[in-house]
């Protein structure tokens, strides 16, 4: 069964120290789908305006993304204008024009209601909840959020978390959500409110997985050239959920591998502007990067060190 994703399908104008992209396709659901569809069929729910270059999403359809849930409404598409400095970890939002996204009420086509794997990208937690109400019996529900909702819709977010299995969130956000600076304490705070699986994304510092059974770290891939961090987190989520859906199980070992596949997809996403790197990416390249992660983190069982003491 498919992976259902609900999120933004946007136009992005992004400036980094390495260049500028003007009105290119972006949005959380777009990045997620581009990443996840390398592993498993995806069903996308979102909204665009009359100005959206729908032809640019053809590559998603060709990879098995069902766009039947993408509605087109009269008006302008969601447009995000942002910039990054040399510290590529933090985006500065210069302009957000919501356009038709302002009135977005996700409505799932019948064929989408039986989705087994669900990713609720960072939109209003009330809408995230509405989506869940339309899915019959999901096997695994993952969601993302951000400070705007943590501050503005805290109660709705907490209600949502009670029905979520996996929270994917960045380090600053989980600190704001939990009030705990220590990430282990913050993850436990979240676990007590619903999601047993907590994935903390730390940008260049990698990501951390905490479940009741396991704790796992994956580093950030050491790219020397990194052009555009936009979409890295959603691409991570796409690799993570895509790998799990493909493997069909969620053991601790699967979750660990999913973390690495997620990190690999995030690392590819930032190598070029927009979705251009993900668009041409092959599964072989992903496998090679997963092996590179393995190489970067493996150490042999240590020889038991005697002490001269």
């Amino acid at each position: 069964m498919s992976i259902l994703v609900v999120g933004s399908v946007a136009l992005d104008t992004v400036e980094t120290p390495f260049g500028r992209a003007n009105g290119v396709i972006g949005g959380s659901a777009t990045y997620f789908s581009a990443a996840a569809s390398l592993f498993h069929p995806v069903q996308l729910v979102g909204v665009v305006g009359g100005d959206y270059p729908l032809g640019e999403l053809d590559f998603l359809a060709q990879r098995g993304v069902d766009l039947a849930g993408l509605t087109r409404e009269t008006g302008e598409s969601f447009h995000w204008v942002g910039a990054y400095g040399f510290d590529l970890n933090v985006a500065e939002t210069r302009e957000t024009r919501l356009g038709v996204f302002a009135g977005f009420r996700p409505h799932l086509p019948d064929a989408f209601r039986s989705a087994e794997w669900v990713f609720l990208a960072s939109i209003d937690p009330e809408l995230q909840y509405e989506v869940l109400e339309q899915v019959n019996s999901p096997r695994l529900v993952a969601c993302d959020t951000m400070n705007f909702w943590i501050e503005g819709k805290r109660d709705a977010l907490l209600r949502l978390l009670g029905r979520v299995d996996v929270l994917l969130i960045n380090d600053a956000e989980i600190r704001a959500l939990s009030g705990e600076h220590n990430l282990v304490a913050a993850a436990k705070w979240v676990q007590a409110r619903g999601p047993e699986i907590v994935v903390i994304k730390k940008g260049e510092h990698g990501a951390m997985l905490m479940t009741p059974e396991t704790i796992f770290f994956v580093p950030g891939f050491p790219l020397e050239e990194l052009y555009d961090p936009t979409g890295a987190g959603d691409s991570f989520a796409g690799g993570f959920l895509g790998y799990l859906a493909q493997s069909g199980t969620c053991s601790s070992d699967d979750l660990r591998r999913a973390m690495v596949y997620g990190s690999a997809m995030g690392s590819f996403a930032v190598e070029r502007f927009g979705v251009s790197r993900l668009r041409e990416l092959t599964i072989r390249e992903v496998e090679e990067r997963v092996q590179a992660f393995r190489q970067m983190t493996t150490f042999e069982t240590p020889i038991v060190a005697g002490s001269h003491v």
Copy 2:
């Protein structure tokens, strides 16, 4: 052959959100020795004043630290007064009383000149260089530095780096030294100036090793309770050099394991105030933590993921 360490032997007054330690023993050479001596004999070079509680260093002597190079001079010992906020990554120095350390000119006892492994803790790079001049034929020379020297003694530091094999440095410092924000580019900048082995310490985010042959990451140990970050970097260096000296070789595999032993020692150091945790630490506890690191970073060779495309 022994590990030679030159650095500060200080009194620390430290305040963190979790408590306060008043005039306890500290200093880079002290932390380094406490960590390294669990693995290999150490020779310490430093200076203290008449006020220093030398008895507190007895545990080092009992572990095989030769204190013949620790001179006692008339005057006050080096005293550092610092504080940490809830973000335990950054220390705020409130007071530095150099005391007898201001006139420190390291002089190696004859028996120390044949040391094979050398750690030059973060002191004036001119003094670090003077120490090297007194060592006959070291097998591996490692050094640390900090922004104070990067800014104030840049030429002397660059001259020193030409004779150093391993630079252990934190992320902010290597960025300041190299002018490169990207850590891979920063490490290459350093490698071009001497040290083939670059270890970048990233506090809670772990550490990264770059050599011409290998790149390796180890995460920060996920401590829920962390009391005093003082000495974490020097304890890391002690575990790193101590493990290498004990194994007697410096292959890529050795260096990877040394990174994990270093991280383990750093993680123990911060569990209590001052050196109290390192003082009572056993090699068995270290081995258990190394296994925990392994558990936190291992993922099975992935099943080759087919694509549904």
